[in-house]
């Protein structure tokens, strides 16, 4: 299914460069799934509170999304890559997960600063959905995003 490249929020770029709040290599980074009611605004949104419609937590969906594991920040030929293990939402019983966006945020900061998001389907298409199955976001071999 066509998902779109991760877009880094402007404020996150600023925070990363200033060394404020966001620490990709040491903090708890979470991936939250968001419904179609959210309209990302990379130039203005900066806190998790800006995400108005994250999927309601339940026994089948971890509160605040899944914790990012296997975070790796590597450097090669002048390109810095931020990468991690794939995100898996695996309900144990019959449940439907329907999401339009995946959003990464820093869960170690008080305000839960936003980092980046990916549109999981085309602008006009229906949201991506799983039923009684795994909702997986398979990260690209080139990582989540790069700084070059």
């Amino acid at each position: 299914m066509a998902a779109n490249a991760w877009i880094v929020y402007d404020k996150a770029k600023e925070r990363i460069l200033k060394g404020e709040a966001i620490a990709l290599g040491t903090h708890a980074i979470r991936c939250e799934l968001v419904t179609t009611d959210y309209t990302p605004l990379s130039t203005a949104h900066e806190y998790k509170s800006d995400i108005s419609d994250n999927i309601t937590s339940s026994a089948q969906y971890p509160s605040g999304g899944v914790l990012t594991s296997g975070i790796a920040i590597t450097r090669s030929n002048g390109t810095i890559t931020f990468d991690a293990n794939d995100f898996n939402f695996s309900p144990t019983s019959s449940v439907t997960i329907s999401a339009k966006y995946a959003v990464l945020y820093d869960d170690s900061t008080t305000s839960e600063c936003l980092i980046c998001y990916s549109a999981l389907s085309s602008a006009t298409g229906p949201p991506a959905a799983s039923t009684n199955g795994t909702f997986q976001i398979q990260l690209d071999a080139s990582g989540i995003f790069t700084l070059a």
Binding site: A3, N4, K13, A102, Q136, A141, S142, T146
Partner: protein
């Protein structure tokens, strides 16, 4: 009743943050480049001029000794 299972696998491409050192137009960039070239040439010219003066000064310092040696040599010849 068995409910149909549907997995979903999404593969978002890698995102990127490009670093731009300048937002100059091509004209401004060319002007900046030429100014750099001119500055290098001026610096190189001054270095050459300085080296030339040093060599000239060194040459002038050596010349009176040569002349004196020539005079001595002449006087020796005459005395002989």
């Amino acid at each position: 009743m068995h409910k149909e299972r549907k997995d979903v696998v999404l593969r978002p491409p890698c995102g990127g943050v490009k670093v731009k050192s300048t937002t100059d137009t091509l004209e401004e960039e060319l002007k900046r480049h030429l100014n750099g070239v001119i500055a290098s040439m001026v610096k190189w010219s001054k270095t050459i001029e300085k080296q030339h003066k040093q060599l000239e000064s060194k040459h002038n310092d050596q010349r009176p000794q040569d002349q004196a040696a020539a005079v001595n040599s002449t006087s020796l010849d005459k005395s002989e």
